[in-house]
Symmetry: C3
Subunit: 259 residues, 3 copies
């Protein structure tokens, strides 16, 4: 079975590659398991400040499930349920990763590829990118854990359009619908991704982790406890806060230490 | 009293016409009752795959309440409450209809017309369309069941702008605000609506119904039961799923059977 | 300490000026207290129909906290908590003000300035305006009450981008992200703000107050009581409703009396 998930590490930044170029980076069951493994491990690395997830080659970020394996791994209800455990674990590992995750998207970002991107914190794409979830054409349905991602990405109205029509849309329409944060020239893709990573890494690492955590809490709609409200002020006891406002006043560039 | 609601049926598709051309398709009490009746009946038709709702003529989708009847049917609190039962029944019949509902909008889509459109699953309009809810100019207020529609359409911030300023906006601004899914040329209107209907009908009918149901559940913010989570996999036991992935692999066009 | 909050009153309209021109309208602790005082007082004025909040000069609406005072008023956890009581009181006084509040934005609308704007009902800006919350560069974090404002303005995905990257964006991008309702030419700024105020004042004052109240309730996600549902029809017992529909039919301009 072709297809792997590769993780590269450089300084405070990790890159997760979806690599199944022969099949436009379709994700088979083994790859979904590997995505879950990779993000679970990266999430435990307290030294990490940013994760980029991207597709190998230039044709696709991820083009959904590998439908050729459906007749062996997703042929009936029982198999489908077992398969879903792996995809949902992968989605939740990305969603719950404490480190900022940026999806760098070129080409096809379809089906499971778009669902994966929807659980990232940001999405930047090239003009030739394409987005959609045409599962209705397969007679299939997004279960709730996948639907959660699509709805958080484009809202309930956006999700209805995506799923009922099953259209695959281009980058401009994806931008207008809020599927991506921005569209950058293909020639400048790597430079723009690197610039976004540098902006993320220019902030205090704990600020980013707290912001992710607090926004996830607000998304949940659950009431805030006293301890959670209080956590909003924990930053004022960090070294990085003192570094931050002093360098601001002296107009220097801060070097945050992550504590 | 002029004004009727007409239902046409062709194959798996029904079209509901708002027809009160002499009054730019204003909706009087009898028409609200008829909208509720029509969508309640259509919702029980298991063979239906798409409903289009549109206005007769080219001047309006629906231009709100027929204000000339206010002095007889909405003159005081008691009448207003009785009147609201009919409008809310109509809104809920559209909102809760298990079949995909597409609003095909030309011209005025104002007041109750916009509220009706807001409970549909998709909205496609022509460049001459106009959108707004200037009820504040009448000294009136959207009750919660109507407000629910406006907020689900444009969010709380969008609803504040629409209601506090009372402006009627054009198609481009409506698109930017998420009031419509897309704007199509007036000359191509029927063709584009038919193309959207065909895209909706190209998906498995049960997939569409499940997606609508699941998204409605997620909108509610209510916790999911085990049975609801499990329903996400019911598709894998349908004939249409087998038809779907097999025709995908053989690159044929699927003919879904709806079970 | 420089910087004041000034309130002007003209007819049914109040203007709140953020005035600290020497520091691009940075808001120090005394000014946050004064914002809370001003909106608390204005909120009790039943004769008021619209409040405009704007920055003195042309360079800024509000450019966030006055970081020069951090070493004396926000130097540690205890001070930060005390400081936050004032900013949160200010945000909540704006958010809970029963009168429509319009933020008129020129130039920098950054940090606490953007948070303040996020709790207003509408935001209109000039093309030279700039928006962002680069607190991560300070090693600081938005506590939940501030984050609430940013999330209601741009959603959870938008808030992640704003906070993780820390970019300051221009007016066009702010419009696309839903940070502002519209962008108007700088030369027409006062005229456009006045036109929006006049549109707001052209609606019945109680309609505006009820719409604000109902939308705030829907934002809360709390279930509606019978009494709240019933309040949706209270307008039909007002003088302004009778004035409203009668002048609509006679094609006259209504003069609402606010009861």
């Amino acid at each position: 079975m072709s297809g792997t998930i590769r993780v590269e590490r450089a300084g405070h930044v990790a890159t997760v590659w979806i690599d199944n170029v022969a099949k436009r980076n379709a994700l088979n069951q083994a790859m979904w398991i590997a995505v879950g493994d990779a993000f679970t491990a990266l999430g435990e690395d307290t030294d990490l400040r940013c994760i980029v997830i991207r597709g190998a080659g230039t044709e696709a970020f991820g083009s959904g499930a590998d439908i050729e394996e459906f007749s062996t791994v997703r042929a009936d209800l029982q198999q489908a349920r077992a398969f879903a455990r792996h995809t949902h674990r992968a989605f939740h590992a990305v969603r719950d990763c404490p480190v900022p995750v940026l999806a760098a998207i070129r080409g096809a970002c379809v089906g499971g590829g778009l669902e994966l991107a929807s659980f990232c914190d940001m999405r930047i794409c090239t003009p030739d990118s394409r987005f959609g979830v045409p599962v209705g054409r397969l007679g299939a349905v997004l279960a709730y854990p996948e639907l959660e991602g699509l709805v958080r990405l484009v809202g309930a109205n956006g999700a209805l359009e995506v799923l009922l029509e099953g259209r695959v849309v281009g980058a401009a329409e994806a931008l207008a619908k809020g599927m991506v944060n921005r569209v950058v020239d293909a020639a400048a893709f790597d430079t723009e991704i690197e610039a976004a990573v540098q902006r993320i890494c220019a902030g205090a690492p704990l600020s980013a982790r707290w912001h992710k955590k607090f926004i996830a809490k607000l998304r949940s709609g659950q009431p805030l406890t006293e301890a959670e409200l209080e956590e909003g002020y924990a930053c004022f006891e960090t070294e990085d806060y003192v570094i931050g406002y002093r360098t601001f006043l002296s107009k220097e560039k801060p070097s945050f230490v992550g504590r």
